[in-house]
Amino acid sequence: MPLIESAPALPMVRAVGVHKRYRREEVLKGIDLEVASGEVLCLIGPSGSGKSTFLRCINHLEKIDAGRVYVDGELVGYREGGDCLFEMHPREVCRQRADIGMVFQRFNLFPHLTALENVIEAPLRVRREPRPQAIQRARALLERVGLREKADAYPSRLSGGQQQRVAIARALAMRPKLMLFDEPTSALDPELVGEVLNVMRGLADDGMTMIVVTHEMAFARDAGDTVAFMDGGVIVESGAPGEILANPRHERTRAFLSRVIGARP
């Protein structure tokens, strides 16, 4: 009993001193972050502060130059051996990515496939699920995001909000342990933002671990467990949404928030 109590719950994501540079420009300058299992972390910050880059480091779409990223206790993209890090075989990287869902600002649905085909593609080809089972689950997922009747529509026939909801269903079809959202509503017309945020709220309520880059402060306040403010490649401060959004400690956070909230009341 005491053994179990004292063992700290393993965080779902642990980033330690993550550095990333593009040529000369250092984009991430040492990111330290922990996201507990079931936690919803909202990442906010000005354009160019490195939010997208950090998300892409978590599923190894970008290689990091220093530091470590652990997802569910497993080092992402490398193997530890002595005091060296060995790059993983691409097959291993794919296996890790399969457990991490990602939703993009521009949806990135596969335009040559229908909504249903978008959702079943990876379960069929990566997980090698039997087709009937994959289709059945895909229909259930499309139903969950409110798009049951759009299963056979091509992305070009869907609105932005519908496309983004298909994209969420597509990511969920892999049964991820973690979902990464990179400004999922920034490319949407204002009236379509709500439907996507609602789906995300439902996910959060179901206990999905999520990292959400967003400018939707209302969402961060009521769906987020934690808000982290990023600027210039570092996390300036993080804490409960109420604290960070209402009483930011740092001047940079304050300046950013007044800009954002001023722009979008």
Binding site: C94, R97, F110, P111, E121, R125, Y154, G160, A167
Partner: protein, 268 residues
């Protein structure tokens, strides 16, 4: 109701009339030309030797197109691979084969026996018949051109597609095959159709190594009966038939591709 009066375009009409007159005169000068024996054209238009050559031309073009397409995809993927060695190899291949005349390449393949008497356990001339040499020369050359076409197609696919596929755990080859190439096809097909038309005509070059194609057949006959122009007209007719059929086919394929609702540009 106001009447719409179309703009008058006298020069357009005049120009069109002039073109028609010139075309008619040209046709007439061939038709009435005493130096052309029309009965020779009629005699050979469907002659077995000519039809055999025609078949060879078609087979040659199809084989070379298949080799070229496979090679083109391979070279394009190599060209875009993370490995500098593969990129360099692909670049070198394209540089070499696009940088030298096809005629020279055909002559080299046709005369390879002068360079290597044996290919492994076989005598070069037994393996590399004029037909085989023609297929190889045309196919390898076609590959270099297709590589550029395929590469342009792949590059035209939005980078986000690659990100999305990788993020789902799909491997690089799987992403290429299932996500990138099917989308690239739309960009690839129109220039690939033009490339095939060029190839149809380029097959005539293999007549220099007696490749057995339509032009070889025509030349064989004309060198015996000396009716050079007549036999070239016979060949011209067949080449035009082939390229016309290809163009029509290309048109339909492109129209179908445009219609299937596979909009590459998602509505935002």
């Amino acid at each position: 109701m106001t009447r719409v009066v179309p703009l008058r375009r006298p020069w357009l009409w005049l120009g069109s009339a002039a073109v028609l007159v010139v075309a008619a005169l040209l046709g007439l000068s061939i038709w009435r030309n005493p130096n052309i024996q029309h009965d020779v054209i009629v005699q050979f238009q469907f002659a077995p030797a000519i039809l055999q050559g025609l078949r060879t031309t078609v087979v040659l073009a199809l084989l070379a197109a298949v080799i070229g397409a496979v090679l083109g995809v391979l070279l394009a993927v190599m060209r875009l691979s993370p490995s500098p060695i593969l990129r360099l190899a692909s670049g070198f291949y394209t540089w070499l084969l696009r940088g030298t005349p096809l005629l020279v390449q055909i002559l080299i393949w046709g005369n390879l026996a002068l360079l290597f008497e044996h290919l492994g356990p076989f005598r070069t001339n037994d393996v590399l018949t004029p037909f085989v040499a023609s297929v190889i020369a045309l196919g390898l050359n076609e590959g270099a051109y297709m590589a550029e076409i395929v590469r342009a197609g792949i590059i035209a696919v939005d980078r986000g597609q690659n990100d999305a596929a990788l993020a789902l755990g799909m491997s690089h080859p799987l992403t290429m095959r299932r996500i990138i190439l099917p989308q690239a096809l739309r960009v690839i097909l129109p220039p690939a159709g033009n490339q095939f038309i060029s190839l149809l005509k380029a097959t005539s070059l293999v007549s220099v190594i007696a490749g057995g194609d339509l032009l070889t057949a025509s030349e064989n006959i004309s060198s015996a009966n000396l009716h050079t122009i007549e036999l070239m007209l016979v060949a011209t007719f067949w080449y035009l038939m082939l390229t016309t059929i290809t163009s029509v086919g290309q048109h339909f394929v492109e129209r179908r591709l445009g219609k299937t609702g596979v909009g590459m540009h998602a509505a935002h």
